[in-house]
Subunit: 312 residues, 2 copies
């Protein structure tokens, strides 16, 4: 059930020509504050500004040529819409993206800019799913889920795979937890390629993965309230078994801790990270006493922020 | 009079162990918009967040051991204060920084954090110069000028030297023009190590270097009005001859062009650059028709911005 080392290495070979091997940055000021060596894997510098390019690309590369001809579809208001649109464009595949009416117009424009067809639907999960299903029914397009798809998860693992190539001796690695696709991919790479342990960071205001790990089964999020808009989603049956098996722990962080972590990284490292990415660093910072003297990797998931609407 | 190739190569060897060899980033989206390949030399990732670390370090490395024992001093409200403080700390030299009373408290704290002694003076150039002179008279400290000092200029040249190591085939290179120390150092490296031409970007609201190049002698700035706070200074007798000889042209940019360029780099490259750095890119962007198909380097001078007070 859980992808093997060979599986993820094969995916790495397949995906690498289509994505950036993003830089790993560090800061002596931050190391001093945290009390360990922190290595930031900068997926904010990835194509379209987020790690989601990796999973979307792999999902399409796994399609047969007949499937590719019929195209792909997804529903998303954010980064995954852009990832599918750009990956499809790069691979010469037709993409139809179902976007809720309340998606920011800048994101709609970006998706159109990549040449994808957009279908606007009501802003409910039901309407989004129905819209995507209609595309599948009418065109035979393959639906790609942003996080609960094993090809997407394997694609996401390539970020941590690159990080371990650069820094094979990491002791721990942190990823933010939203739909679970990134932390599951990160845990796969960590498990197969290192002796490190994988930790997740999750907002207290969307703590469904934390609760699910305790319960042992998937608990849907309730009363979601977090600035980390990329993490307002829930786990799925493809990624939860991996998380349950391979993620050491999930740490919760509060909203003010997310904003403070985001600001600290902006000011000290001079890089733009989105609130969801700050969650992973906030989780390390809050629990820094547990990681003293370690080498710790942080998957900076993305940098797509509206710079006119900052929380500081 | 103008430093030789051997001079700047020697400085590079001396300074390199004490500064970061900063990464060079690029963006296919930006290349497409500008119509040429643009390579951003990220001195915003330099120690203390700006290129000024390079010049300050070299100036101190050139001191005799007796001079080092007596310490160094400068007057500055901004990046150079931090650069001298941090370089002095790294080299075990005592630093006394004269800062105007109206300098942002965050910058005073940073200077103190590096262990330098601060003397607060009135917020006029006269008071600042008098304050620094008093330190020299009383302690025998060596005064280091932020831009009009040949050792500082040679130190600054190491940023472009590194850039040409990574990209020897650049056709043009842009630097912002304030006190003239960065563009002069950049022009030295470009002249001695490449076939490229050096261009300066300067705000219309502080166009003294542009006017000075036309006149052939130094014209002090009048009615300074620009968001690019690092560029509100004037040329000096050490850097102007180099600029006159080796800088191909200086392009003026308006305030809205500076802000737009800054925002474009933030949004597309996910890096934090200060308005002064945006001036160099804005100058290229405004004159992009002249550089079609070229490989162009941009010295991103720094990333020290108050993220709570953005112009967008």
């Amino acid at each position: 059930m859980i992808p093997t080392k060979e599986d993820i290495l094969n995916v790495k070979e397949l995906v690498s020509p289509h994505v950036h091997n993003t830089p790993v940055l560090h800061s002596s000021a931050i190391n001093k504050m945290v009390g360990c060596e922190v290595f930031f894997k900068c997926e904010n510098f990835q194509r379209m500004g987020a790690f989601k390019m990796r999973g979307a690309t792999n999902a399409m590369l796994q399609l047969t040529s007949e499937q590719r001809e019929r195209g792909v579809t997804t529903h998303s208001s954010g980064n995954f819409a852009q990832a599918v649109a750009l990956a499809a464009k790069s691979l010469g595949i037709k993409a139809t993206i179902v976007m809720p009416a309340n998606a920011p117009s800048v994101k709609k424009e970006a998706v159109e800019g990549y040449g994808a067809k957009i279908i606007i639907c009501e802003s409910t999960l039901e309407a989004r799913e129905a819209g995507a299903q209609e595309v599948v029914d009418q065109t035979g397009a393959t639906f790609i889920h942003p996080s609960n798809d094993i090809d997407v998860i394997n694609g996401n693992s390539t970020a941590a795979q690159e990080l371990f190539e650069d820094h094979p001796d990491l002791n721990s690695i942190f990823a933010p937890v939203g739909g679970g696709g990134l932390v599951a991919g990160t845990a796969l790479a960590t498990h197969h390629l290192s002796k490190a342990k994988t930790y997740g960071g999750e907002p207290s205001g969307a703590d469904d993965a934390f609760q699910s790990l305790i319960a042992g089964y998937i608990i849907p999020p309730v009363n979601i309230n977090t600035i980390a808009d990329g993490l307002r989603t829930q786990l799925g049956d493809q990624n939860f078994p991996i998380i349950k098996e391979l993620v050491e722990d999930i740490f919760l962080v509060e909203e003010d801790e997310i904003v403070a972590a985001m600001r600290l990284v902006w000011e000290r490292m001079k890089i733009i990270i989105e609130p969801s990415s700050a969650v992973a660093f906030a989780a390390l910072y809050k629990n820094r006493d547990l990681f003293k003297g370690q080498k710790v990797g942080i998957i900076v998931s993305g940098g797509n922020v509206d710079v006119t609407k900052l929380p500081f």
